[in-house]
Symmetry: C2
Subunit: 189 residues, 2 copies
């Protein structure tokens, strides 16, 4: 997606070989016109997949998620992240490890909102090691529903998440793929 | 806002005299068409206020916030909530107490994204005691910017936040105002 690639080139800040900061348009401040275009692009990519739900994770997935859900005319659900929680009957729980923050979180979704027969599109802002996407996919599968695809705004293609998700049989569409962040420069795949 | 009032009546669950659960369309699952209408309504209410930024707080403020920012054609910033953090030069920090969760959080916004001269519209999903809205307003004022208004999706008008914010001189517009949650029934103001 050219518009997004331009934005990454103009406003992305390479903190080191692993971390790209995009807090001016995606993670903290958000560009709503760009988010709308992101939603349109995911809709174009996954049309024909009979999506019935969009699932994302708080917080940075919500803006691209809601714009995609709007275009697809289906509800958005966002998984909540918690440090740990007491077991409850009414929620699906999965453990997700964040390599960036070096901590585990439990992600939760109410059982009310995903059902057998649902075809769920997973949306997230970043893909690196794939931990969050796999956690969301396991929740969809716990619910007896199907992962119709995984839409990623920015994939760090030099990390293994994209390959691992593809090997697990998921269709992954990343709007921007980054091959390297060496020497302070973003190289696109 | 009639559409929203209907949704509260049909899908809101009164947990007790203080707590209304709206996780089927606002807090966990989100109705994107309703969120778009919410954004349109805030834009109608605050047009003429020369808004330059929309400010909200993660996570449930992001969907109504991004839809409002899209209609107003300005950026959205969402404040992050943290348990506590080491002091940093590059962020504004305010302490916010949650009566619901009975805990204090620090909310943070990068100094890069609000500037003197900005006219900021604060958006949040709920207004009860006004703690979050006051915290966001203090951040806007720390930045030397102006609070152009406060837009609330659902105000619990039997709690003091709306009155306190008005007394402090802020213009508050709530799309739905709830007078009471007694006996499991929502009474609108």
């Amino acid at each position: 997606m050219q518009l997004l690639q331009n934005k990454v080139r103009e406003e992305g800040i390479v903190l080191n070989g692993q971390v790209l900061k995009v807090d001016s348009f995606l993670n903290h401040q958000m560009d709503p016109v760009l988010m709308k275009e992101v939603g349109r692009e995911f809709t174009r990519l996954f049309q024909g997949e009979n999506i019935t739900r969009v699932l994302t994770i708080e917080s940075s997935g919500i803006a691209p998620g809601i714009m995609t859900a709007l275009e697809l005319e289906v509800p958005l659900i966002f998984a909540r992240k918690q440090k740990s929680l007491t077991l409850r009957e009414d929620i699906y729980v999965e453990k997700v490890y964040s390599f960036t923050k070096q901590e585990s979180n439990e992600i939760t979704v109410s059982k009310k909102f995903i059902h057998p027969g649902d075809r769920v599109l997973i949306i997230d802002d970043f893909l690196a090691n794939g931990e969050a996407a796999f956690g969301l996919a396991r929740i969809v599968e716990q619910a007896g529903a199907e992962v119709a695809g995984i839409g990623i705004v920015i994939e760090k293609a030099f990390q293994p998440g994209g390959r691992l998700l593809a090997e697990a049989g998921y269709r992954v569409e990343s709007l921007v793929r980054i091959a390297a962040l060496d020497n302070g420069v973003v190289t696109f795949a």
